[in-house]
Point group: C2
Chain length 201, copies 2
């Protein structure tokens, strides 16, 4: 058959993404050479370039995988009946399961987004979609009476995402351990942003 083998294509691409991810976590995006990725993936440069057009294209693939995961998590929160509960549960799960590997890869991803205009554009669209999903959830909570009307849904959604990003930034700077210690206080801050009164547990 001369036609393109889609299964092989998808499989090879997956192999390359995994191998590249490992390399990037170990040595960073710019410190790993294409030769490194080739060795890790067990193929020659020519073959690798058959599946990805450039080194940058590889990290774009990794970014897409990451964005999809965030997307799914937020959509689940948006669809849940109780916003606060769902959000805090997602946050806990996030802080629990985030490994050092994830954190390092997230840093590499962010760095590359900051650098490349085309990735920046995709990240901007993803960020807007995330914001809208959360804003929709806030609106629903306002209809249900859980969140006061005077809260600006869109802006508050953006601020909540900022808080989470900020925690991630702290975690990359000071180590993954801060995720666990930070989650409870982050909870309180998010509640304040959503206009909740203080409450003793």
């Amino acid at each position: 058959m001369r036609t393109r083998d889609h299964d092989l294509n998808a499989e090879r691409r997956q192999t390359i993404l995994k191998a590249a991810g490992d390399c990037f976590v170990q040595n960073g995006f710019h410190a790993t050479s294409m030769k490194d990725v080739c060795t890790a993936a067990g193929m020659s440069p020519g073959t690798l370039y058959h599946y990805f057009r450039s080194k940058a294209d590889i990290i774009a693939g990794i970014i897409d995988e990451d964005a999809l995961a965030v997307r799914k998590a937020l959509d689940e929160v948006a669809e849940a009946p109780d916003l606060l509960n769902a959000l805090f549960e997602a946050l806990d799960a996030f802080a629990m399961h985030m490994t050092d590997r994830d954190l390092i890869l997230h840093a590499e991803i962010s760095a590359e987004i900051l650098r490349r205009p085309d990735l920046k554009q995709r990240a901007a669209a993803a960020h807007l979609a995330d914001q809208k999903a959360l804003a929709g959830a806030i609106l629903k909570a306002q209809d249900a009476g859980t969140v006061p009307r005077e809260i600006d849904g869109a802006q508050t959604a953006a601020d909540i995402l900022s808080l989470i990003d900020g925690m991630l930034w702290e975690a990359t700077l000071h180590g993954a351990a801060v995720l666990k210690s930070r989650t409870p206080t982050l909870r309180r801050s998010i509640m304040r942003l959503l206009g909740q009164r203080e409450q003793q547990s």
Copy 2:
């Protein structure tokens, strides 16, 4: 005289930092070659390497300049008699005077911090110092009775810095214009984090 000429040294370093900054803003850190910086600074590679040990060392110099500016602004806020006022004034000035150039350079800086462990360590120290300065200011406001006692100063300081970083991230993704539209709502979010009641102006 065979002894090191300190004035010339400082001047040349400044020339290089400025030239490199221009190059990085135009083409990004990794897309500008040392040859580009040499041309912009008007000197040969050998001379440039006489003043900076590496390309990474140049961006480290730019980072230090940036961190110093943040440091100064936050210390002024911390020393002001009225925290809220001083903070909001600083924020307005920040949003007003932030140029596209600053924003792009900030992005390049962040990307490089994410990548290099030694820069990461310095950024972590700077972030901690910023956080402490703001936490001190919150404590002072608590003593003055402007901010309620149940607020956790250190964590709230971290959260406020997260909100500002988040706004910067949004600005790099969606353009500098969001800084001006975002500042008023950011104000309200910060007030909420500091336990202030809603108020009509």
